[in-house]
């Protein structure tokens, strides 16, 4: 990945995950990080736009560190980034995370309830940790912001 010294943003690309509950959790978690936990620092990349090759997503992903968050082991977001922009800085597989957390309940992709909301929050916090790690490593310039 080509990166100018000290980019000021972190790109986060989520899978679109329509067919899986983990996909919905993934999408919502990334949005939560962007809106609530790291506004102004995290830029969410739109996977469908990324794949369609429009909108500047791919070029942007070449210039900033990118974290991919996938709903399952198929890893669409990570594969797409590696194909079109280069290596990812770090990635999450939400299905794998849920296994680590011993989540065995059947989850809803379309009607997220309390459990899905809690899991979305936990995944968001994992993403936040990865972003903070990039800051600690000096891979992104936050200019005094946090």
């Amino acid at each position: 990945m080509e990166m100018d010294a000290r980019p000021t943003k972190v790109g986060v690309l989520s899978c679109s995950g329509e067919s899986e509950a983990e996909g919905t959790i993934t999408r919502n978690a990334v949005r939560l990080v962007m809106e609530k936990y790291k506004p102004g620092l995290v830029v969410s990349l739109c996977l469908p736009l990324y794949l369609a090759g429009d909108g500047g997503e791919r070029d942007f992903a070449k210039k900033v560190p990118v974290i991919t968050v996938d709903g399952c082991e198929k890893s669409c977001a990570r594969l797409a980034t590696e194909k079109y922009s280069g290596e990812v800085e770090s990635y999450l597989d939400v299905r794998d995370l849920l296994k680590q957390w011993d989540v065995t309940d059947k989850l809803s992709r379309s009607h997220p309830g309390k459990l899905e909301e809690e899991l979305t929050e936990r995944v968001a916090q994992q993403i936040v940790k990865l972003v903070d790690h990039l800051i600690e490593e000096g891979k992104v310039d936050i200019g005094g912001e946090g």
Partner: protein, 298 residues
């Protein structure tokens, strides 16, 4: 050949039907266009038009375009939009049938119920008046000159500003001036920031507009905004294509997405209050970097 009922010459319209062969509504579209053809209306074959657009140049230049789509897939409308044609009237067969309590089926053979409706639908199209203000055909005016652009990016967003020939106000609206006329629209920054355009409410033809007056309004999926005129003048036309398909502003904000055309009244005075392209580029770059995160969250 005059239309006895309306007294109008039927070649005032030209018809572009869809070519739907796989369902009843497509057959109906074809049948309506055949009825119109019997009344002297030129019919554009959509398949041939795709391959050889020049074949219908004369007909499309001579008449108001009526598009007939069999269903909401809208193939004929999309073809017209892709070719930059202005649609004066559109008929979607499934919608018209539904309004009359008839459902078009999957079998392409016409049923009696649908067949009975077709002559009256054809008559309506013959009698239809343009529903909006006249437009200036871009191919005939100086506004058709090529536009060069400069770009800058903020995060993943790429913003374009014309290199020359445009003047901007601080509301990010532009005027492209040619002689005593100007076209007015909104900048690339506006269309990206405000998101997808869904409505354009144009001003009245003949309206007198002062610089910084509102000259039409836009509604997007995110917000509503006024087009603030960078120039003073009288509204001579609006872009009917944008009225029909406001998303043209998103696709091509500086050229096909122009909104209003005015006859200028005092451009030399107005100009002193405006930014030319290089000045606007610098202004916008600073503004976008400052405001983008705050307003649009990345």
């Amino acid at each position: 050949m005059a239309d006895n009922r309306t007294g109008k010459d039927p070649v005032e319209i030209v018809v572009l039907p869809c070519s739907g062969l796989d369902k009843e509504a497509g057959s109906a579209s074809r049948e309506i266009s055949l009825l119109l053809s019997e009344r002297g209306v030129p019919v554009v074959c959509p398949v041939l038009y795709q391959r050889s657009p020049k074949k219908y140049e004369k007909e499309l230049g001579a008449g108001r375009l009526v598009v007939i789509d069999g269903c909401k897939t809208g193939c004929a409308s999309k073809l017209a939009a892709e070719r930059g044609l202005k649609i004066a009237r559109k008929l979607t067969v499934t919608e018209a049938a539904k309004a009359l309590g008839v459902k078009a089926g999957k079998d392409p053979h016409l049923t009696e119920a649908l067949r009975e409706m077709l002559p009256s639908l054809a008559e309506e199209l013959l009698a239809s008046e343009p529903t909006a203000a006249p437009t200036v055909d871009g191919a005939e005016t100086a506004f058709s000159g090529a536009v060069g652009y400069r770009e800058f990016s903020v995060d993943k967003f790429l913003f374009r500003v014309p290199v020359s020939g445009f003047f901007f106000n601080e509301n990010d609206c532009w005027a492209r001036v040619e002689g005593v006329r100007a076209r007015v629209g909104v900048s690339d920054y506006v269309q990206q920031s405000a998101s997808d355009m869904i409505f354009f409410d144009p001003p009245a033809i003949g309206a007198e507009v002062s610089i910084f007056d509102e000259v039409g309004s836009l509604e997007t999926t995110k917000t509503a905004l006024d087009i603030i005129s960078p120039v003073s003048g009288k509204v001579t036309s609006v872009n009917q294509q944008v009225v029909e398909a406001p998303e043209l502003i998103n696709e091509d904000p500086y050229e096909r997405g122009w909104a209003v055309e005015l006859e200028l009244t005092d451009f030399e005075s107005d100009r002193e209050l405006l930014m030319d392209c290089p000045a606007y580029f610098d202004y916008l770059k600073q503004k976008a970097e400052r405001e983008h995160d705050e307003l649009y969250g990345g």
